[in-house]
């Protein structure tokens, strides 16, 4: 009986990617993480550059939205467009949650840039929804890593 072969080490010059396996991080867990913190799921799945880009860009968009006087809308079923805007803004989980807690993004309706601020908030949320879907595809193996 032969002893099991020792694990092969990576050849010199080859970088080894350390990442969580799709089996270890299931689709729902990855989706939740990706929704909460933009780019975090990609970081966990070993896609460092993508994760960092998503985190920096989407967080910056969210902050710029607030800086321009945009408003984080509440869910109002009576106003369908406001409801949809609120839904889009909740595409960015933790930043939106923190903003709600500290009162960020109250909106300055009289500001020249009010609508631009809303656009940045909504754009950030919708882009993160795409990032969440990409992370889900990566975690479930529907997209090659």
């Amino acid at each position: 009986m032969t002893p099991p072969a020792p694990p092969k080490s990576a050849p010199p010059g080859e970088r080894r990617q350390v990442s969580a396996s799709p089996a270890a991080l299931g689709g729902p867990a990855v989706t939740s993480i990706a929704w909460l913190i933009p780019g975090a799921a990609h970081l966990l799945l070993g896609q460092t550059r993508k994760g960092l880009v998503f985190f920096v860009v989407l967080t910056a968009m969210f902050l710029v939205g607030g800086g321009l006087g945009g408003r984080l809308f509440p869910f109002q079923l009576a106003e369908p467009l406001v409801f949809l805007m609120a839904l889009a803004e909740w595409g960015l989980g933790l930043p939106r949650l923190l903003a709600a807690l500290i009162g960020y993004g109250q909106g300055v309706v009289v500001a020249t840039t009010y609508e631009y601020g809303n656009t940045f908030f909504i754009g950030a949320g919708l882009l993160n929804a795409l990032v969440v879907l990409d992370a889900y595809d990566l975690a479930t193996g529907r997209k090659a890593r």
Partner: protein, 57 residues
């Protein structure tokens, strides 16, 4: 910044960066795609602005 075109360019830069990163795998492809998306967004908005000016202005 309150410049309309400045904010539009900033928004286009953010969006095209995310799209480039999301839809392409290698860095050169990502940069190429992001630049093309950025130019399409800014150019499209500029053309649409002129069209609106010529039609409704």
């Amino acid at each position: 910044m309150t410049s309309h075109i400045g904010l539009m360019v900033l928004f286009a830069a953010f969006v095209s960066t995310v799209f480039g990163t999301l839809l392409r795998e290698s860095l050169p492809d990502q940069v190429r795609f992001a630049v093309r998306a950025f130019l399409a967004l800014v150019g499209g908005a500029y053309l649409t602005g002129w069209l609106m000016y010529l039609i409704f202005g």
